[in-house]
């Protein structure tokens, strides 16, 4: 079997094709929004938000009549729970009386516990719960695909519209305030964006693994390029590639698809960490050490004797 066949063979199945499209879209959207998550050091927030949508999922399941066919209701409930949690964390932190990571932790466990409590009250839920925790990319329905496209497309469009403002706030919030940018509004906007992305990714990688899609491609990209637009584009590429190849991997060696996608992501990150030019581990060990010492020596000479041409 040649390579083309290897790639095309699984796509005979409609569910594989839909899964692949969903996974690639999720990979791109997660990576783009995840770039801001990485730059602002919000990894914990992203993870918390993913877990905090559990009660939304449970309620969506209840009101959707318990049938997994009606995922539309579930999607909106999950999005509601995510936005509620994001805004709740923002509101608790605003004013500076509670530290942000404490607020995140409290909302995270509170909502997750509420989710478990709700689920434990419904006996029949056990089967589908693992799908929400770990994703079920091969169960993507045409409606799900539309939701992913719609939510992801809106998220990307929002990032495009507010790109400069979001970057200004991410880099230097004080400066953004002096420019009279609506800093509080932009911060909430980012929280809502992350919430949307987490819900969109629910189907492919699930609650427990969505954090990987948010931060791993963006972190890999940050080790490879030096400017933000390039980092965002490369992160999207890595995210899309990892999602697609992870899905093929899961097909050919029969492992859980969400886990396969995340493993490819993390594997790629480790590779980058090892071999990235300038910032990679190998580079630093082999090339950086000597020139750096020499430079320090020259600086010292220049400081002691400023007239010696330093």
């Amino acid at each position: 079997m040649d390579l083309l066949n290897l790639l095309l063979e699984p796509l005979r199945f409609d569910f594989m094709l839909r899964g692949l499209l969903a996974a690639v879209m999720v990979g791109i959207v997660c990576s783009v929004v995840g770039t801001f998550v990485v730059l602002r050091g919000m990894a914990f927030f992203g993870d918390a938000l993913a877990h905090a949508i559990l009660p939304g999922v449970a309620l969506g399941y209840l009101t959707g009549g318990g049938s997994s066919a009606d995922r539309s209701t579930l999607f909106w409930w999950a999005l509601g729970a995510a936005i509620f949690s994001a805004l709740g964390i923002g509101a608790i932190t605003h004013g500076g009386r509670v530290k942000e990571d404490s607020a995140i932790g409290i909302v995270f466990v509170g909502m997750f516990a509420l989710g478990i409590a709700l689920i434990s009250a419904m006996r029949s839920f056990a089967v589908d719960l693992s799908h929400f925790l770990f994703g079920n990319v091969l169960g993507v329905s045409p409606t799900d695909l539309w939701h992913v496209a719609l939510g992801g497309g809106l998220a990307l469009l929002t990032v495009r519209i507010f790109y400069r403002q979001l970057v200004a706030v991410a880099f230097d919030e004080t400066h953004a305030t002096t420019l009279r940018l609506p800093v509080t509004m932009l911060n909430y906007l980012l929280l809502v964006l992350i919430a949307v992305v987490v819900v969109v990714a629910l189907q492919t990688v699930g609650i427990a693994l969505v954090l990987a899609m948010l931060i791993t491609p963006a972190t890999s990209a940050s080790l490879l390029v030096k400017r933000l637009p390039a980092m965002m584009a490369l992160a999207a590429l890595i995210g899309a590639f990892s999602s697609a190849s992870g899905l093929y991997l899961s097909y050919y060696i029969s492992i859980a698809s969400g886990a396969a996608i995340v493993l490819v992501c993390v594997g790629f990150f480790l590779l980058v960490l090892l071999v990235a030019p300038e910032r990679g581990w190998l580079w630093r060990v082999l090339w950086r050490r000597k020139p750096k010492r020499a430079a320090r020596y020259n600086d010292t000479v220049a400081q002691i004797n400023p007239d010696s041409g330093g």
Binding site: L39, G41, R160, I161, F162, R164, Q165, V167, A168, A170, F171, D172, T174, H175, A176, T177, T178, L179, R180, L181, S222, V225, K226, R227, L228, A230, M231
Partner: protein
């Protein structure tokens, strides 16, 4: 303690609108009053040194002027407009709290000063690029425009943030202790830069604790002496008098008039 405003420049007979017109500004954190009914007027285009002991409220005043702190009472007008309506005031903090590994180079950082001018969904236009290039020229960082911000020295980082403030097209520039932590040569460079910015028509207010520099009329046209309230504002020889210095610093500073200017001596040992 009196709160006499600086008199506006009247060299050509007309009175232009002052760059900054501050009236009865009071700022309190929780219950503690940090600034008490501060009033002053700064004529357009001047370089003004803001001096006072530690805790005098110099940083607080600058933050209030740029809108980072909401004053309890009082009004701030920039070129005659209430300052909440415009971003004509730019501010460079003593030490910017930023992530130095952020994936931006010098050019990108200065372009961030244009953010409010570039509309949503837009990319920087020719005018934006011209402003960035001009700002970089003023702080003499043109050669390093492609350098990552994390690879700059402390003095260079400071200059990039000054350029970012200039690119904002503000007519008033506030600098909080720009000389702190710099060696003498780097301090001279910053003073030259302030001079270039001033010749570009920008009003510059510099918080500093170097009284000697503040007293030097080559560097500053005016001095504001602050200790929670404004002790005196005006020209250096009238502001930095024994009486005013005692009011601001207690009895540890002595003033000696020399041919080169005013010499201030600290006797706390």
């Amino acid at each position: 303690m009196n709160h006499q405003p600086l008199s506006p420049a009247t060299s050509n007979g007309t009175v232009p609108l002052p760059a900054l017109d501050v009236q009865n500004l009071t700022v309190a954190y929780e219950q503690t009053v940090v600034l008490h009914t501060v009033s002053f007027v700064i004529p357009a285009g001047e370089r003004v040194a803001l001096v006072g002991p530690n805790g005098a409220g110099k940083s607080t005043l600058l933050k209030a002027l740029v809108g980072l702190i909401r004053p309890t009472t009082g009004s701030i007008r920039v070129n005659g407009h209430l300052h909440t309506q415009c971003n004509d005031v730019a501010y460079v903090p003593q030490r910017a709290q930023v992530d130095w590994s952020f994936p931006v180079n010098v050019w990108d950082v200065v372009m961030l000063g244009r953010t409010a001018h570039i509309g949503l969904f837009r990319s920087p236009g020719r005018h934006d690029r011209d402003r960035v290039a001009h700002s970089l020229e003023l702080v003499r960082m043109t050669d390093l425009a492609r350098r990552q911000i994390g690879e700059l020295s402390g003095g260079q980082q400071q200059r990039v943030f000054i350029a970012r403030a200039l690119a904002q097209d503000a007519c008033v520039l506030l600098l909080d202790e720009p000389m702190t932590g710099l060696d003498v040569r780097a301090q001279q460079e910053v003073l030259h830069m302030i001079d270039a910015i001033h010749r570009d028509g920008v009003t510059v207010l510099v918080a500093t604790h170097d009284l000697q520099q503040a007293a030097n009329t080559r560097y500053y046209e005016r001095v504001l002496l602050l200790n929670q309230s404004l002790i005196q504002g005006g020209q250096a020889h009238a502001v930095l008098t024994a009486e005013h210095l005692t009011a601001a610093y207690g009895g540890h500073l002595h003033r000696i008039e020399t041919e080169q200017g005013i010499l201030l001596v600290h006797d706390r040992h």
